[in-house]
């Protein structure tokens, strides 16, 4: 927007939630950055709407302590930007990208607007490189590939943090040793949770490769909107300028959505469902679609957002709209967790849409896709048998049904369940899958071919 004289306005006429209304402004651009000064000091905000006479400004640090008379606003003529370079790695930032570790600003190669720009669909490279996470429930059933956006749908008190930490510790690309970085974005989570991740990065020796953007539970709610964008802007630089493979973890996106709802309602907007704004889909997409790969660039952004489903309800607008944007989802299940199964991945509800291009001959093993389809189908059938059992009792089950129950137990106890530090190879995962199937009659296995059965299952039984 170019240079211009900075004028200060002391004409605040209304304060509502995180919003401040300023009258009589001139030469103010939509979405530009604003510096708000008051008795409490300086804070930043951005223009949400502007007309000939009024600018509506969202104040990042919240409006607590602001008064009509004692507040002035200076419009900065640019959007919110962060400095990007490799030196963000090993550092900690707040939700608007200011250093939060007591150290000076890192050297910045360039400044980038946190909103980024949409990737031209013709410039995308379709993600297809398998990432081995060492977790059977993921590698075997819902494989992650480089450049994918794959969220974890969890619930309060479920071990999503442990799972995310385990993924970051173990994630590797089969046969590769290219540059790897992690961007960790905390959104409204507790100090303890953030520290848990930090320790985990530290223990695995990855800390020097991690940039942390922290908006904790007691940080201003409005900065929850900027935090993921700050993180992604750093990630884009690392991936597409420095050719690194970047894993971005964001937790908890539910807090992000709630902040969005709060701002929307203070603007008096008409909500769609459960109070969430009608543009939440588009807003979330402007975050998630920043994952991916670009033709001609070596790096990639793989996105692993975590969200907690209110009331464990997958049809709640937050998980629902997320699922409509991301390329699958890993769903955690309370029932499994109670039965002592870690990671408690409910495979029936989980899905990786990019799996089909990342597995199979030349990537993992030729039988991978069929095997996982068969495991899905058999597991779904097993669940029906389990619910039948609750009605008719075990005696009422046919012999075949009982085989399904055995299959289900084996699958959950041996395939799904593993220790938090157990790093299982893909071969072992697939073999455990076949071991589970071996408990079923062969004519029930219509998703795998007779050849695959004799090659992979028979050999092991």
């Amino acid at each position: 927007m170019g240079l211009k004289r900075r004028v200060s306005y002391a004409t605040v006429t209304q304060i509502n939630g995180p919003l401040v209304f300023i009258k009589g402004v001139k030469d103010v651009g939509y979405d530009e950055l604003v510096e708000i000064s008051s008795a409490r000091g300086r804070s930043l905000g951005r223009v949400l709407e502007v007309s000939r006479d009024v600018a509506v400004v969202e104040v990042f640090e919240g409006t607590t302590g602001l008064s009509l008379g004692g507040t002035s606003a200076t419009f900065l003529g640019r959007g919110l930007e962060v400095g990007v370079s490799q030196e963000v790695l090993g550092r900690v930032f707040d939700g608007i990208g200011e250093p939060a570790d007591g150290k000076p600003y890192p050297y910045a190669r360039e400044k980038a607007d946190i909103n980024g720009s949409p990737i031209n669909p013709t410039a995308r490279e379709y993600p297809s490189e398998f990432i081995e996470t060492g977790i059977s429930g993921i590698d075997g059933m819902d494989s992650l590939v480089r450049g994918q956006k794959l969220p974890i749908f969890s619930g309060a008190g479920l071990p999503h943090n442990a799972l995310a930490a385990q993924i970051t510790r173990q994630a590797k690309l089969l046969n590769s040793s290219e540059g790897f970085a992690i961007v960790f974005v905390a959104i409204g989570i507790t100090h303890d949770e953030a520290m848990y991740f930090r320790r985990s990065f530290e223990e695995s020796g990855a800390l020097a490769n991690v940039a942390m953007v922290l908006n904790l539970a007691d940080s201003p709610a409005v900065e929850r909107i900027t935090a993921p964008r700050v993180g992604l802007t750093m990630a884009e630089y690392l991936a597409f300028e420095e050719q690194m493979h970047v894993l971005v973890i964001m937790t908890d996106m539910t807090n992000y959505c709630n902040a969005l709802r709060e701002i929307s309602s203070s603007r008096g907007e008409i909500p769609a469902r459960k109070g969430y704004p009608g543009y939440m889909y588009t807003d979330l997409a402007s975050i998630y679609e920043r994952a991916g790969k670009i033709i001609g660039k070596k790096g990639s952004i793989t996105l692993l957002p975590i969200l907690t489903m209110p009331n464990d309800d997958i049809s709640h607008p937050i998980p629902d709209l997320t699922g409509y944007i991301t390329e699958g989802q890993i769903v955690l299940d309370r029932g499994l967790y109670r039965r002592g199964i870690y990671p408690p991945i409910d495979i029936s509800l989980s899905l990786s849409r990019l799996m089909k291009d990342g597995v199979g001959k030349g990537y993992t093993r030729e039988d991978h896709m069929d095997l996982s389809n068969q495991l899905y189908a058999s597991y779904a059938r097993m669940k029906e048998v389990r619910s039948l059992e609750t009605v008719v009792g075990e005696e009422g089950l046919s012999e075949k049904d009982r085989m399904y129950l055995k299959f289900g137990d084996f699958f959950e106890q041996r395939f799904l369940k593993q220790a938090e530090d157990e790093d299982r190879g893909i071969e072992e995962t697939l073999n455990l899958g076949w071991d589970s199937l071996a408990l079923l009659p062969e004519d029930e296995l219509s998703r795998v071919s007779p050849d695959e059965i004799s090659k992979y299952m028979k050999k092991r039984t």
């Binding site: 030469d27 103010v28 651009g29 939509y30 979405d31 949400l48 709407e49 502007v50 007309s51 000939r52 909103n115 720009s117 949409p118 990737i119 031209n120 669909p121 013709t122 410039a123 995308r124 379709y126 597409f240 907007e269 008409i270 909500p271 769609a272 469902r273 009608g278 543009y279 889909y281 588009t282 997409a285 402007s286 679609e289 033709i295 001609g296 660039k297 049809s315 607008p317 629902d320 409509y324 390329e327 699958g328 029936s348 509800l349 849409r353 089909k356 389809n373 899905y376 189908a377 779904a380 059938r381 619910s387 009605v391 008719v392 009422g396 046919s398 004519d443 219509s446 998703r447 071919s449």
Partner: protein, 582 residues
């Protein structure tokens, strides 16, 4: 005109006297493309098709005098556009991997020369929609160069056969020169002579669609389903295998990678009818979820106008829109910015009429040049929470003839396509059945009806089975359940990613169904002879029927399967006296 207010994608203009509704305007110093969507005194409301970041009150808005239009001419096929027909590959060449603002490129390549073969003659009186000549656009598509619908007159000059670029005149009327291309406003349906009944099936090669819930050429369908239930895969499958001459695929507010997938696959995939790459009949429109929301609203109209244009050449065109819900959400967002009175779930009250206008543009018609063409429309719907009672699904249902309802439970069980065979419907079943009788066999309607009966019975028995277990049922019902399973796993399920299964020719569909129903009929006779169902279930033919969709594509083997499926159960009744079976 000047900017008075900026709110998201909507700009309010002052001093706007004289500006027309739906006029294209250029907003701000950056010349962002916008369209007038409401006029109120000397205020006009403009939806802006690019990011409005940095726009300031007071900046100028320039009129263009023209409505939002698309360019129609050779060069459309194989191109990928954004929602307002900006060619994405050219944008990428100009500015790199990320889409920036205020950049433009002509939708059709001005430098390329096309070989034009004139058919119209000097002195001929021509009117809108008539053919001036032809350009072989791709190996599949012969592009008829049409007189623009609103133009007529006596030809004073027609260019000789030869190579011309888009700006070269190829014919002259007293009033104007004609070119290889013309413009047409996207919100105005292109005219035709009359509507014709839609009675020929659009053969999709997808068994559950063709056999149970067919769509006709010129018909319209919706495919609603929660996330991950398979809407996009079905749309991709139709775009790949449907027997349309031209396919327009609109990615409206969905994932970037899904468009990349089409761009990667279609040039490689071969059209089963022509043997040529599918890209040679495809036009792509991609306004992904992270691209400007107003352009998403326009993308649907851009797509359907291009579809109508090829229809006017006499082609059967199929348009896929994934997802109409994102289009409706764009409408809602803009309506909210206009501070209009909201209807249900915040959608504007005119949602229903907009949906009606869109689906009404589907149809089989007699074109202005007198031949027949059609536009078939298939819209995906993404209902919140997978709940079909929401406004977009419900309103769309009023205007379409086919409903393919996707089922979360089926998808969770990896039964794909997860079209629910109990709740879905097609109003074309009887109209298209004569085609199927002619191209497959007399007994096609009976086979389909029998399959429906079996599946319906299975559905009726389901709660009983859940209560008492399958063992408590009489043998004949157990048999029905077995056949239902064979139908589900061997016919209804279709793996889009398996090279053989991905497409089923009409003949294959017919023979598979015939084998399964034949098996059922002869098994029923065996059951009457008091042979337990378990023995039938144990026959190897059962697995063979279930797997046949993957293993056999040649007709001979299928015919053999039909015979063996009928014979296999009979062998049981022949051997029963010996006390053992296999």
């Amino acid at each position: 005109m000047r900017i008075y207010r900026v709110s998201g994608a909507v700009v309010e203009a002052e001093e706007s006297t004289g500006v027309k509704m739906h006029e294209l305007v250029l907003v701000g110093e950056a010349n962002l493309v916008g369209e007038v969507i409401r006029i109120d005194g000397d205020r006009a409301f403009v939806q802006v098709y690019e990011d409005t970041y940095g726009l300031k009150p007071g900046e100028p808005i320039k009129s263009t005098g023209n409505p939002l239009s698309v360019e129609l001419g050779p060069g459309l096929i194989g191109t990928i556009y954004d929602g307002i027909q900006r060619p994405l590959s050219s944008l990428r060449e100009k500015e790199g991997a990320f889409i920036k603002r205020g950049i433009s490129a002509p939708p059709l390549d001005r430098t390329k020369r096309w070989h034009f073969l004139p058919t119209a003659m000097v002195g001929q009186k021509v009117s809108g929609g008539q053919v001036l000549g032809y350009v072989q656009e791709t190996e599949i598509v012969k592009h008829a160069v049409l007189v623009p619908p609103d133009v007529k007159g006596e030809l004073q000059w027609v260019a000789d056969e030869g190579d011309y670029s888009l700006e070269d005149p190829i014919a002259k009327l007293p009033s104007q020169e004609l070119h290889l291309y013309h413009r047409w406003p996207v919100r105005t349906p292109r005219p035709y002579l009359e509507r014709l009944p839609a009675d020929e099936p659009l053969v999709t090669g997808q068994r559950i669609i063709d056999a149970l819930f067919p769509i006709a050429k010129g018909g319209s369908a919706i495919i609603p389903g929660g996330f991950g239930t398979g809407k996009t895969v079905v749309q991709h499958q139709l775009a790949k295998w449907a027997d349309a001459d031209v396919v327009v695929y609109v990615g409206c507010g969905e994932r970037g990678n899904e468009m990349t997938e089409v761009l990667r696959d279609f040039p490689k995939l071969v059209d089963p009818r022509t043997g040529k790459p599918l890209m040679m009949r495809t036009v792509l429109i991609a306004n992904t979820s992270n691209m400007p929301v107003a352009a998403r609203e326009a993308s649907i109209y851009t797509g359907i106008t291009i579809a109508e244009y090829f229809r006017d050449m006499g082609y059967n065109v199929a348009l896929m829109a994934d997802s109409t819900s994102r289009w409706a959400e764009a409408l809602r967002e803009i309506s909210g910015r206009l501070e209009e009175m909201p209807g249900e779930e915040g959608y504007p009250p005119y949602l229903a009429s907009r949906l009606a206008e869109f689906y009404e543009r589907a149809g089989r018609v007699k074109t202005l040049q007198g031949n027949e063409g059609s536009v078939t429309v298939v819209g995906a719907v993404s209902p919140m929470g997978g709940d079909f009672s929401e406004p977009v699904t419900q309103n769309s249902l009023r205007f379409v003839q086919v409903f393919w309802g996707l089922d979360k439970d089926l998808a969770d069980r990896r039964h794909f396509p997860s079209i629910n065979w109990i709740t879905s419907y097609s109003q074309y079943s009887s109209t298209v059945s004569s085609w199927w009788i002619k191209h497959t066999g007399e007994d096609w309607p009976d086979l389909v009806a029998e399959a429906f009966r079996v599946l319906q019975t299975e559905n009726d028995l389901e709660s009983l089975v859940r209560l008492v277990g399958i063992e408590a049922l009489p043998e004949s019902q157990k048999l029905t359940l077995l056949v239902a399973r064979i139908l589900r796993e061997g016919f209804l399920q279709q793996n889009a990613f398996n090279d053989v299964d991905t497409y089923s020719s009409p003949r294959k569909q017919y023979l598979l169904l015939k084998a399964m129903i034949g098996f059922y009929r002869s098994s029923e006779k065996v059951i009457e002879k008091k042979i337990p169902e378990a023995e039938i279930e144990g026959l190897p033919i059962v697995q063979e029927l279930i797997r046949a969709r993957f293993t056999v594509s040649e007709e001979l083997k299928l015919e053999d399967l039909v015979k063996r499926a009928e014979d296999a159960p009979k062998s049981l009744s022949g051997e029963i006296d010996r006390g053992d079976k296999m």
